[in-house]
């Protein structure tokens, strides 16, 4: 989404909420853990967008910008996420506001392994992205695999 589209969507959402007034009950408000988690995913996507745009050839390769986006991504992936994955924030408990499946907490070892795969793939990307388009393209595959591997098992 472009910045403009995001702004428009944000304003639209804000006006809907405002016009609904205070009658909008507590349950419409997202759980802060879910909100933080989805914000983190958006930050991943924002940085991936630049790298992927370059890999696809839609954005001209720029070593410095690619390196910055990739190190952002690696830093985001490596943050401590203990609280962001708090128990009781799955879609069975909270409903449609989240797509996080209860299986995350049932298979916590496997979930941790998939998380490690993302940390590693994003670190590899951080090393590669500034060094040329071929390296960036090569690192994109493992990154996509890490995202997909976890989404397949643990996202609705």
């Amino acid at each position: 989404m472009t910045l403009k589209a995001t702004l428009i969507a944000g304003l639209a959402a804000a006006s809907v909420i405002a016009s609904a007034g205070l009658g909008l009950a507590q349950e419409e408000k997202k759980n802060p853990v879910v909100e933080a988690r989805q914000s983190l995913m958006h930050l991943y996507a924002f940085n991936l967008g630049l790298l992927g745009g370059m890999a696809k050839g839609e954005i001209e390769y720029d070593a410095e910008a690619a390196g910055a986006a990739a190190s952002n991504l690696a830093a985001l992936a490596a943050t401590d996420q203990t609280r962001i994955w708090a128990e009781g924030t799955d879609n069975a408990t909270l409903g449609d506001s989240t797509e996080a499946l209860p299986a995350i907490w049932e298979n916590s070892d496997d979930f941790a392994a998939k998380r490690t795969a993302l940390v590693e793939a994003s670190a590899t990307m951080a090393d590669a992205a500034g060094g040329g388009l071929d390296g960036l393209r090569g690192a994109m595959g493992a990154l996509g695999g890490a995202c997909g591997g976890c989404h397949k098992a643990y996202r609705k």
């Binding site: 890999a55 595959g141 996509g144 997909g148 591997g149 989404h151 397949k152 996202r155």
Partner: protein, 294 residues
């Protein structure tokens, strides 16, 4: 009264006879595969494009484990639950099959024992495969690891337990016709990858009450047969991605918004990532050439 009973009896016999003839499993000519030798450079492409591992690898398998075709994946449908069998080259799998056996399974939906397969095996798609591709696929599957995992029975209720009835179903829905006209060689290649191998339509096209695909709404999205949620439409008018977006999604799993594929599509992407960039581009070009959804 006696006369009426006699007529009724006569009609039942004729009806049963007609059912018997019309529902007979039909196989390919015995020499269909004669003289075909596998092309080693092409074998793996058929396997990944056909998406065999999506159902026949053990559920949850990742990476090289997806080459162990032990079966066990459960396909939920309004007719019951189908459990994918072991198709690894072993006793428990299909180690003793000939290339003809594989061709009959994929192209005619008939087992080596002469029974109909359920169309959970997407033979209405594979019926469009070339026999050369079957030969290539067989050669590749013979090189894969063996698994001795025993097959589990499907969980179906009457009348779907009567396989013979599938003979009639096949008369309605098993056809070698193509759905989308191929105006260019690239679309034709894409069409082969989608309509003969990739079986995208099996999920992305809605079905009628008998489980046949509604080809007038080709790739326009459908309720999930498991009963949970909706499978998105990918025909023009339903999906506004560019051909490049589609090809890149199939390669990396990333959508144009850099969300990433989940669910069944994560498996599809791990299959499609094995294809050449030209083949992924051909699929994307084909998708853009599908008749627009109203």
């Amino acid at each position: 009264m006696r006369r009426l009973l006699r007529i009724l009896f006569f009609l039942i016999v004729v009806g049963a006879g007609a059912f018997w003839v019309l529902s007979r499993p039909e196989t390919l000519p015995a020499d269909a595969m004669a003289g075909l030798t596998a092309d080693p450079g092409h074998c793996e492409t058929v396997f990944w494009a056909g998406g065999c591992a999506s159902c026949h690898a053990a559920p949850g398998a990742q990476g090289d484990d997806r080459l162990v075709l032990a079966g066990g994946y459960r396909i939920e449908s309004p007719f019951g639950t189908f459990v994918a069998p072991n198709i690894s080259p072993s006793e428990a799998g299909i180690g003793n099959w000939s290339a003809e056996d594989l061709a009959n399974a994929l192209i005619r939906g008939v087992s080596p024992g002469g029974e109909h397969y359920y169309p959970a095996l997407p033979y209405t798609t594979y019926a469009h495969m070339t026999l050369q591709d079957v030969a290539d696929l067989k050669a590749f599957m013979d090189t894969l690891p063996a698994s001795d995992t025993a097959n589990q029975p499907h969980e179906l209720s009457f009348p779907f337990t009567v396989r013979r009835g599938l003979g009639l179903w096949k008369r309605l829905y098993l056809t070698e016709d193509w759905v989308v006209p191929a105006q260019t060689p690239e679309i034709e290649r894409g069409r082969y990858l989608v309509e003969a191998l990739g079986h995208c339509a099996e999920c992305h096209t809605p079905r009628n009450q008998f489980g046949g695909l509604d080809k007038t709404r080709w790739l326009q999205g459908a309720p999930n047969p498991s009963g949970k949620g909706q499978i998105p439409g990918i025909a023009p008018g339903k999906l506004d991605w560019t051909a490049e977006d589609i090809a890149y999604y199939l390669e990396s799993g990333f959508t144009p918004d850099f969300d990433s594929a989940g669910g069944e599509m994560a498996d599809v992407v791990s299959n499609m990532a094995h294809l050449t960039p030209e083949d992924r581009a051909a699929i994307a070009t084909y998708i853009k050439a599908v008749p627009e959804a109203k």
